[in-house]
Symmetry: C2
Subunit: 424 residues, 2 copies
Amino acid sequence: MGIVVQKYGGSSVADAAGIKRVAQRIVNTKKAGNDVVVVVSAMGDTTDELRDLAEEVSPLPPPRELDMLLTAGERISMALVAMAIAQLGHKAQSFTGSQAGVITTAEHGKAKIIDITPGRIQAAIDEGSIAIVAGFQGVSQDTKDVTTLGRGASDTTAVALAAALGADVCEIYSDVDGVFTADPRIVPTAKKLDSVSYEEMLEMAASGAKILHLRCVEYARRFNMPVHVRSSFSTKEGTWILPTPSENEATMEQAIISGVAHDRSEAKITVVGVPDKVGEAARIFEALADAGVNIDMVVQNISAAATGLTDISFTLPREDGQTAMGALAKVESQIGYEKLLFDDQIGKVSLIGAGMRSYPGVTAKFFASLASAGINIEMISTSEIRISVIVDSADVDNAVQATHTAFGLDADEVEAVVYGGTGR
Amino acid sequence: MGIVVQKYGGSSVADAAGIKRVAQRIVNTKKAGNDVVVVVSAMGDTTDELRDLAEEVSPLPPPRELDMLLTAGERISMALVAMAIAQLGHKAQSFTGSQAGVITTAEHGKAKIIDITPGRIQAAIDEGSIAIVAGFQGVSQDTKDVTTLGRGASDTTAVALAAALGADVCEIYSDVDGVFTADPRIVPTAKKLDSVSYEEMLEMAASGAKILHLRCVEYARRFNMPVHVRSSFSTKEGTWILPTPSENEATMEQAIISGVAHDRSEAKITVVGVPDKVGEAARIFEALADAGVNIDMVVQNISAAATGLTDISFTLPREDGQTAMGALAKVESQIGYEKLLFDDQIGKVSLIGAGMRSYPGVTAKFFASLASAGINIEMISTSEIRISVIVDSADVDNAVQATHTAFGLDADEVEAVVYGGTGR
């Protein structure tokens, strides 16, 4: 008998009706002969409501206390899910992050999982119970204080717990049917993927696809845990996230491109007229690192021979924009740049596919599709299985649609786009 | 520097404004040179709202899960109080019942405190923090599960914690000014008592005065912990609950009567025509005990010589009425009684005062005052410091007012009612 870990998001347990529906699905999984461990998020908007309450009391609450407050959210949902399962005649016990053995660092609000010691969960399973575990929370190794793992981290709890328990699969339930070739709100013909590799999913998560939390995919990849992303509102198969097929297993059916992701949450800063000397770029990025700013893409132009000056552009989370501009203004005299430009009207469009690494025409086709659509490319960044471009934010939808069509991803065509894998 | 334990009820922390007001009062106590430990209840109606949510999911939720759910209430209020204190520039840390070392039995929903091991609380105090502790909750010694102590038990948490920490005083804050000689809603001239003995407070709590939880007073008495009942909405002194003065300390100022309590939550059952033989009463109360029914007052009439039959009447919590009637109906053939009468239109009025034990006229004066008011007495029960009568529920207000006046408790007169204690 295998262990199935299921994670239900806030929209799946938003009210009593949702909780009963989820309980029925959990019981069905148990009846099918599995041991079931369930990770739940807080109901609907509970976490935001608790944050609002905190703000009424204190504009800058101590992080330890904010974590204590927010963890009430999953406590409520997990107890209700356990009650609903009991009402269906099955044994269920709920566990806080601490009780489930989710040991973390002490960084309140963004703690990292250090270890999972699921002794109580295993004991509950062994006695035939369904274990319901609070997502998003843990207990710090050093201070024994309650911690939270950061927004959306219930997915990470689920995958980490699945790995620690040696589960057969980790199912992530939400209100969408799976991973799509693009955001269906922008590309109505976007198609659900049957499967995608950890590496592709990582690139998608990093490129703005909100379907799974980046750290969750990293965890799944590290522990080789199969993840099944699916809807709690239907029984349809969703998308499997699996190891990359080995060269021998690569088949005719493997598509070049798995999808088009986009991200509107970034801004761009350009440092104009930087002396093109060794160490100048380092100084800029040291100043940003000291200010705690995370950088995404970086581009440095070739310097104009006449002036010996160059421009350095980078993207960063939009909310860090003012911090970064302030940090750079402080080092102006040391670096001696001419000026700073700030642009928050940008968007990132990324083409992702493990197949592209041995298919040379992909980049050219991507840029050609954008050109045909009349879209100007501001920055470019590539990895082995991803190409990202920065465009004007007004062009994002067009760019996603044009690329989706150019690569034959639209629903009726996708089966035809196959790639005869030859390895690389 | 002494330790002050303060307990704030749900009405004191009902919203952000209340929480800020409470935080200011806590900080004032700290600034006055005390170490402060605070016990909080859930905000306003949170506990009832969580119960309603549970009922939507399951009519009979597993007690372990109900406790897990309800404990979210204090988690929210304690974190918010800690935030509000931090906002005022003082260090504060919140602790769940489990973290505070409140070790209990495993009876979910009505767990008893076995021990308090307040190591983390003491450590927080030692480093200059104000400790905020969740009332009403603990962790079971055997199963390590989260438990609740039963409705209103935050008072008990506060007194038990005060005893374990060796506090100077336990202050119980609510929305009333202290303990009154009668319920001011019934007797507008009722007077706040400056002090009352543990024994009198116990009788008052057992007689329906809702100001303090019975178990809380028992705890205070056992550990000789001074309790100060006062309002969080004013800075006036409330009522001190203290040891009974020794005979030598008893002064001219000690009043005979400390107050009149009433209780409308009971019902009366009369078992008519019971054969007056050894063991019949035992059979009746065994049947009730087996059904888990708690009995309050019991009266057995002298049997009529002609028939050899007697009537047995007792009072019990009204909500146990149907259970008790069912249990008695089942043993009808064994006992051979004639019929059962059920009356839920009753009320209990109690006169309480440590002084009455050496003052013989109290009972006579009590009954005379009820007679003058035209009130019929249905049952009588006495202890050394209490006389209780059962009357028609419609007569309760009249009975309380008449008794309050007869014993000179009305506000302008109370100072005149003194008793020259001679011991007994």
